[in-house]
Structure formats: C-alpha cells, structure tokens
Symmetry: C2
Subunit: 583 residues, 2 copies
C-alpha cells in the first residue's frame, strides 16, 4: 500500500525519482547551465513580454515560478519553460480582444489566460488527452510557425521606427505602419536598425570571426549567446550617455524591483468565456512546441518523455504563471537547446535559473531604465526570423497536394486573419482533406497474374480475368465516409458490365469495418442478391472477422469468405488450374 | 458536336432518355400507380403540413410541382418526392426560430427554406459533392430517425388531446403538454384516440382480417392503404353530422381552392443567414433518406442511381416547392414503396400523381372543411411510430462501442436539444470517434512463426524473436492523428527494452503516409540514430514507395527497405536460416 503510494507519487511528481539520486557532479553541471541560461533569458523575457503587450517585468515573472513547477512535475530533463515568441503573439491577439493594452485589465486578462491554459493542460494530462495535440498536423504547425514569425517581425517594426502601429493581422499591421511612417524617429531608427544588424551579424558571423582570430570554439559560442546582452548594455549606455530618452527614443523606464507578486486570475464568466478558445489554442500549440523540443533532446540521451505527464508539467507551470503576474508559457526551443548544450543534467538546472532570474527581478531592474525598446524589438526580430521557413511549401507541394493546401491555407489565413483563425482553419482543413481522401479510397479491379497466385490491378498489369467474376481490392478501411462509395462503385460496375455472377471484395488492406460500412455491405449483399449476383469476401483480417462474427452478416452473405484471393479465384472461375479442383 | 450536346442534355435531364421509349404498357402501369399514390398522399400531405406548422394546403402544393421536376431531373424511376415526416419536423424547428406560426412570415420562411435547400442540393450536385452525405454515418442516421419519430409523435399528442403545446425538444413538448392537461377536450380525445387505434389496427390487423374473410391479398393490400382515407372520411362526417366543430373539436377549416400559387422566396439577408445551417442539414438529411430509398428500389430492377444527378433532381424539386407555396421536400420511403408496389415503371407516374393532387387542390378542399386535426395527428403518429427502432442501440453496442456512443448521443441530443443540435453533434462525434480510433492504431510486435515465412503478434502466437531486432506491424495508414503515436510507441519501446539494435516497421497495412507521418518517420529515424539504433521498413506498398521516393527520407534512412518482412528477418538476425545468407 505504502509502496503503491510512492509509485503513484513518483509517477505524477517525477522530481521524487531523479531528486533522490542527485549527485555533486549533476549539481555542478546544472549550476553552470543555469548561469548561461539566466544571462540569455533576461533580455529575451523582457522582449517577449513587450511582444505580448505586457510590461517587461511580466516576462521575468513568467520565467520564475513556472520553471520551478515544471522542474517538479515535468519529465524532460532539459526543457526550459518560459515565455516564447509564438505564444506571446497569441497572448497579445487573445487579450487584445478583451482589454486595452496598458490597462490593469490587460495584465489581469493575460494572467487569467495563463491560469486557464494551465487548467486545460492539467485537465488534458489527467484525462490522458495528449493525443489531441496530434490533430495539429505537421503542415499546419509549420505553416503556422512561419506565418507567426512574419507577423511577429512585422509587429516589432514600429519599435525599430519609433512609431505606433497595431493590429493582429499582416494587412492591419502593415497598413498602420505605412500610415504613421511620416512620424518615424531617426535616432530610434539608428539604434533599432543598428541593433538588428549587429544581432544578425552575431548570429551568423561572430563565431567564425572569433574562431578565425584564435578563440576556442566553446568560448566563441558563449560570446555568441551573450550577443543580445551586449546589445542591451551598449544601447542602454548610449541612450543614458547622450540623454536620448529626452529626444524621443522610447525606453523601458521604471520596472518594479520585486519578486513575482501573488496574483489572482479573474473569475468573471464573460472573460472566461471570451478567453476559452484562445486558451485552448495556446495550450495545444504550446504543448506541441514543447513536446517536440523535449523529445528531440530526450532522444539524444535515450530518455523517455511521457506526453501526458508533460501536460501536467506544463499545466502546473501555466497555473504558476497565472498566480504570479505572468502570462502563458511553454517549453521554448532556443532556451532549451542552450540549457542542454550548457550541460544541464536535471530539471534542477531550471530551478537555479529561476533563482537567477529572481535576483535579476529584485536587483537589476533599475539598470534597464534606459534600455531602448528598439533594442528589445531587434532581439525579437532576429530570434523569430529563424522560424520563418517557406521551404515547407515546396517540400509539401512535391510530396502531396493535400498537405500543400493545408500549409498554404494556414500561412495565408494566419497572416490575413490572425493566429486563432489561421490555426483553427488549418486543423479543420487537414481533417476535412483527410476525410475527403478516405471517402474516395483507392479501389482496384484485380486479376490473376499468370503462373502465380498473385492478384494485381487489371489496368496496370497483364492478368487473367473471368467475365463472370468481378474482384475488387479496397485500399482503405471501410467506415462511414466511404461506406456508400463502395456500394455505388460496385453496383455501378455490376450494372454496366457484362454477365457478372460473382463479386469478390479483397480486404487485405481493410483494417476496420465500422457499423456504417457493415450496413453498406449488408445493403450491397441484398442488392446484389436482387440482381442475382453473389457477394464474397477474401483475405479478411482477424480483428475484422472477429467483429463480423458478432453479426448476422456472415450468415446472410450470399457467397463465402475465402482465406486468400487465390482460393476465391479457384473456387469461382469456370476453369480452375489442374492442380486444384473448384471448391 | 450535336450528339455531344444531346449526350450532355440526356445526362443532366434523364427524362430525355426514358421519355423516348415510353410505351403504352408503361403508361397504363404508371396511371394505375398514380391513382393509388394520389389517394394515399392527400391525407398525408395535409398532415405533414400541419406537422411543419403550415396550413394544410402547403402540403398539397409541396407535392405537385416538386414531383414533376423530380420526374424530369431525377434518376430513380420509383422515387416519390414530397413532404416527409422528418423533414417536416426539421422545417418546423428551423422556421419556428425566425417566425411565429400562423403568420405570413412563417409561410414565407418555409418556402425560402425550400428554395435555399434546393439551391444547396443543386450546387452540391453540380459540384459533385454527393459524397458529403457519407459523413452522416449509419448510427447517426438511425439514432436521428428514431429520436425524430418520438419527437414527432409527442408533438402531435396535443391535437389528440385538444390542447395547445409547443416546443422543439422532448422535455419542452412534454412539459407544455402536462401544463395544459387540464384543458383536454373529451370529444376531441374520443376522435383522436379512436382514429389512432383504428389506424394502428388497419396497419397491423386489417390485412390478415380481410384475407381470413376470403378477400384476395391484393385487394386487402389496397384496403389497408385506403385506411387513412377511411379515417379522414368517417371522422369528417362525424364532426359535420354532430356539429362537433361548435363543441370544441378543432377542424381544418377553410382551405383555398386553387392550383399552387406562384410564390417568391425572401431575399432578406438576415433571414437567409438564420436559415442557412438548417437548410444545409435538411438538404443532407433529405438527400440521405431519398438516396437510400432510391437505391433500394433501383437495385431490385438492376437500375443505376447516380447520386450527383439525384442531388440535381432533389434540388430542382425543392426550388419548385419554394416557388409554389410549398416547403422542403424529399423522396419519402412510404410513398415510394407504394408507388413501386403499385407498378410504377417510369417517373411519369409521379407526374400523373401531381395531376391528381392538383385536381384535389382545386376541387376537393371544401370537402375537408370539417376534417378534425385530431385525425391528421393520428395518421402522423401511426406513420412515425414505424420509424422508432431502439434495436439499433443493442446492435451497435454488440458491434462496436464507438458506434453505440454515436447512436446514443444522437438520440439523447435530438430528444433533449432538438433536431439540429442532435444531428450536428452526431456527425461531429462520429468524426471525432473515428479520428480518436485512428490516432491510436492497432500496433503489434511480431516474430517469426517457426518453420514458415509468416510473422505474427508475439503476444498471441509462439514465435521466434531476436532481442536485437524489434519488428512492429502497424495496422493503420500513417497520418497526422497517429504520426506522433508511432514515434512515442517506438521510442518508448526502445528505451525500456534490452539491447535493441534494429527497428523494423512492417507496413503491409499502411495505405498512406502523409506529410506529418513522413516528418514523424524522419524524426524517429534521427532519434533512433542518436540512440545507435537502425530503422528499417518492410512490405511498403507501391503507391507509398512512389511518394517516399520523392523525398530524402529513403536516402536518410539509417537502415533499408525490405520487400518482405522475411527478407528483413534474414538480413538482420544473427542466425540466418541455411537457405539464404545474411544481406
């Protein structure tokens, strides 16, 4: 009983498992990783909070308790949880619909969204609904991420130009940018464009540059990661030194010096209702992003990720964000890879990062008073441009037109109508395309390949056929979307074609026959009987037979069920091969 | 060119085909059938109009032009088009939401609904979208028809009791009935209960009774079909003779003596928007009902029904109803079977029926002035009770729990929340259940059956396995809902189990690999590579291979693609059989 409880607790609280064998080595590695990740996270957290339309401290708050809660409940040893670009954009879109940016209501709506998302993720985890994330097909995710990257970059241009713009779709954002282009501030532009160019160079050119100058690759790597911090420090000093804040350059300004505050999500029913669908979408998108990263990193160490436990971990993290002044969080790709590369061995590394960020929130916020928002925008633009990848369009087009349609529709709808419409339409479209495809399955009329026991498509191969025997191979499970199709196809074929006396359905690729398909088969059997034609089945799989045996169908069937198509051929054709007599 | 035009015209206007060979014999048979069907249709049309909340003449109008238009454009030679019970109920539910029963707006909304439904059906036919009807799975239709039967019968009880009641869900109807039970009119109840009992007896007992008394079965059959007419005549005479209309018995009253009027549907955008979803549901339900009947009857004569042309025929019929004071119509089961049994040979029988009904509309309407509504309610109740069939619940339960869930949910939601919610929820639930099932496909670890080249499930059969080779057979196409499942399953299995060096995916039941599944396979390949495990495929189908060859996957694959699983076994296991050397 007691051991059962421990097993149960260990299952739902993985920290009880890895925490017991925590070694001195692991502590050292985790601490090292935490320092590197903390440095990287400070500007990133501030920038993503700005993207979400929130004050910069919200980004720090969203990185502290969520990391600790994920460390306790999550299964990935390397995942770093916190604000990420796409979820920040989705937060801005969702909260922007219910509150004005900059108001107290906006911050409350954002943390309520986090709490709802946490509850949804937790519920999905406890009900083991992790499979729901599968309905975001790869083309939809790829299209969505690319379109989001473009939307995010476009939405940050206003900070680079020093003007105001708004909107949650690309036409809106571009239109308001163009409208205010005359107000562009030259000083801000110099800082913004300079920071962007610098950061792009850091990303692409700094490491080879340093290595060429004799620096060790590992140190060059650290220098590259410190690039955004350097941009922050330098531009802050420039703004402070030249008094640019008084000359129109927008700065971060006052940020409260405190630990994350204890906050309560709103329980206003109208607000909860308005945020429900966005919270669901954010949960699923966040989960998919997070689990992809977690699985990639886990596989490298032959570790296992439990998707349902991941839901619980992310759920706890988002609830934590909701109660400490944050906004929706998830496992981010960039920070997790840095964490992993820096040698993090256990989720404790995340906890140490949280401590580092807490210290930053308490002690360092006055230092960023003069940090220009243009620099933060530059870090966002450089980060998200790596998400934009149109090659998926070409790859999908080559592979399958249906997948291409899903990518293209998701990209266009996300850009044109916003993130929620884009991703919802993408999911619905993928499901409809799949249903459409299976509703018209590949069906082949087959004949015997001479000298063998194989049956092949009569239109592709030279095969023997018998005008009285029509054999049809169905390359799809039989279920309601295609149930009537088969009936129509077979009846049409029998009406048009010659002296058919037997119809054989070859079921080697039929994995399931559902109730609708069973009814359709019964109807087909009756209708063929009315026409004086006998219906047979061949190569029916075990599980399908088991199910058919629970019904009257096999008794009512006018013909027989043959183990193999060759048996059917031998039994039904007028001229059986000499080796075997007709059944 | 000219013959092409004729072929095209014949395809879309089937009357041009059968009309040219119309014989004297066919004329005679069609006329006989028309007389019988006309007699049966008069009370039925009045009753269904009442069910739809419309004045009785609307039922006659809806039976005249639609029948003629279907005769021109439809492909079934026996289908009788007109008002049917379920569509009448759906009309009442839809129109009741936008107009008050008894007002001019109500009748206009009803004919607008018919015109919209006609346009939708016609559009679906021209775009060849007939397959959409497949998404109404058999369990959903069966549950919906049963629940509708109950709802219809309950809604007619008020006429039997002589009280008023309303509502579009079972609780509403029953509640308002109970509320007004004190107002029940005893005389109306005698007529209503008497007519119901008589009609039930006619249906079940009259034919055996007459045959036992020496009547020929064919005549007994005609007598049975004339039962409702007898009930109408007798109760009308009773009400007239005893002056019961003045004593509280509700009667049909004045019905205009005229041919169907020319009417125009409304083009009010708000109305069209409000009626769009109901019109779509009515179209699809009507189409499914109609095509089932048409196919059943056509199969008996080895005739072909073209589903897309049926859509055009039904679309024309509904447009006709919309422009001649009717309401949505479809091919009814009862009337079509009567038409067929009475010997109708061509759609011309329908045209003659239309003439008969037109005469009735012009000449006979004064005769039904004293017809009590209780009698019409009785004919409806007796007709719809044959639709109610709970055995589907038991059958579906035995066959598959998912199908049972779809039936049960459709019945409960239709009864509890009305027809539109019921059928929509049923469709969505069937799709979700299907997606859920395919998202967790049957997967088996297989081993070699000793002495053969067959591979079977290691948990069901005594088979040879090799601890270094994990072979997994997937019994489902690989696509987005299950793409991640396979990845999780294989990675989990590799992490937990022993010294695995090779993973073989046996793809004999994989009909499709979509782009998401391809990405998942690529990820699986990379992750297994990270773990030092090689990934192989076996028994990949031709079309699947064709598609994979368009990608880099086969080049990147760490292992090989084997033609058969046995080849894979021979190549990968340490101890190959003597007959063949390891690959």
């Amino acid at each position: 009983m007691k051991t059962d409880l421990i097993a149960l607790a260990t299952r739902y609280i993985p920290v009880l498992d890895w925490g017991r064998s925590y070694s001195r080595d692991a502590l050292h590695n985790d601490l090292m990783a935490a320092v590197i990740v903390t440095i990287m996270l400070i500007p990133q957290s501030l920038a993503y909070a700005m993207l979400a339309g929130l004050p910069p401290e919200a980004g720090l708050y969203a990185s502290i308790l969520p990391i600790i809660l994920y460390a306790i409940f999550g299964t990935s040893r390397a995942l770093a949880v916190g604000p990420v670009a796409v979820v920040s954009l989705m937060t801005a879109a969702a909260v922007g619909q219910v509150a004005e940016q900059g108001t107290a209501g906006y911050a409350i709506a954002a943390l309520t969204l986090a709490a709802m998302s946490g509850a949804i993720l937790l519920g999905m985890g406890l009900l083991k609904l992790g499979f729901l994330a599968n309905f975001l097909s790869h083309p939809v995710i790829a299209g969505f991420i690319t379109a989001s990257g473009i939307l995010i970059a476009a939405s940050q241009l206003k900070h680079i130009l020093g003007i105001s713009a708004s909107g949650h779709t690309l036409p809106e954002v571009l239109w308001t940018l163009v409208e205010h282009l005359g107000d562009a501030d030259p000083v801000t532009m110099v800082i913004g464009v300079g920071a962007t160019a610098f950061l792009f160079w850091v990303r692409k050119g700094l490491k080879p540059f340093l290595i060429a100058r004799g620096l060790k690759p590992k140190l060059a790597d650290v220098a590259q990661k410190a690039g955004p911090v350097a941009a922050v420090v330098v531009t802050t000093l420039i703004v402070w030194g030249f008094g640019l804040a008084d000359r129109g350059v927008r700065i971060v300004g006052d940020v409260p010096q405190s630990l994350p505050p204890l906050t309560l999500p709103s329980f206003d029913v109208d607000l909860l209702r308005a945020l429900f669908v966005p919270a669901l979408l954010i949960s699923v998108i966040g989960f998919v992003e997070s689990i992809s990263v977690a699985q990639t990193l886990a596989a490298k160490k032959r570790q296992r990720i439990d998707p349902n436990q991941e839901l619980i971990g992310l759920g706890a993290a988002n609830l934590g964000a909701g109660f400490t002044g944050g906004y929706p969080v998830t496992g981010g790709f960039a920070r997790s890879v840095v964490n992993y590369d820096a040698g993090a061995e256990t989720p404790a590394a995340g906890a140490y990062t949280a401590v580092g960020l807490a210290i930053a929130a308490m002690a360092l916020t006055p230092l960023i008073y003069f940090l220009p928002t243009a620099t933060l925008a530059a870090t966002i633009i450089v980060a998200v441009m790596s998400l934009v990848d149109f090659s998926i369009l070409k790859t999908a087009w080559r592979y399958s037109k249906a997948d291409f349609a899903a990518v293209a529709a998701t990209i266009l709808l996300t850009l044109g109508f916003g993130v929620e419409t884009g991703v919802s339409a993408g999911v619905i479209l993928s499901i409809l395309l799949h249903l459409y495809k299976t509703s018209k399955p590949h069906v082949a009329e087959v004949g015997l390949v001479p000298g063998t026991q194989h049956f092949r498509n009569i239109h592709r191969h030279k095969v023997e056929t018998d005008p009285a025997v029509l054999t049809i191979r169905i390359d799809e499970s039989l279920y309601f979307p295609n149930a009537r199709f088969l009936e129509d196809y077979v009846l049409g074929r029998v009406v048009e074609g010659g002296p058919i006396r037997h119809v054989v359905l070859m079921c080697s690729a039929v994995n399931v026959i559902d109730f609708s398909a069973l009814e359709a088969l019964e109807a087909l059997n009756r209708r063929l009987k009315d026409m004086g034609v006998t219906l047979h089945l061949s190569e029916v799989k075990g599980p399908v037979t088991d199910r058919l045996e629970k019904t009257h169908f096999l008794q009512d069937l006018t013909g027989r069920v043959f183990l193999s198509q060759y048996d059917a051929w031998v039994a039904l054709t007028a001229a059986p091969p000499p080796a075997k007599a007709a059944g």
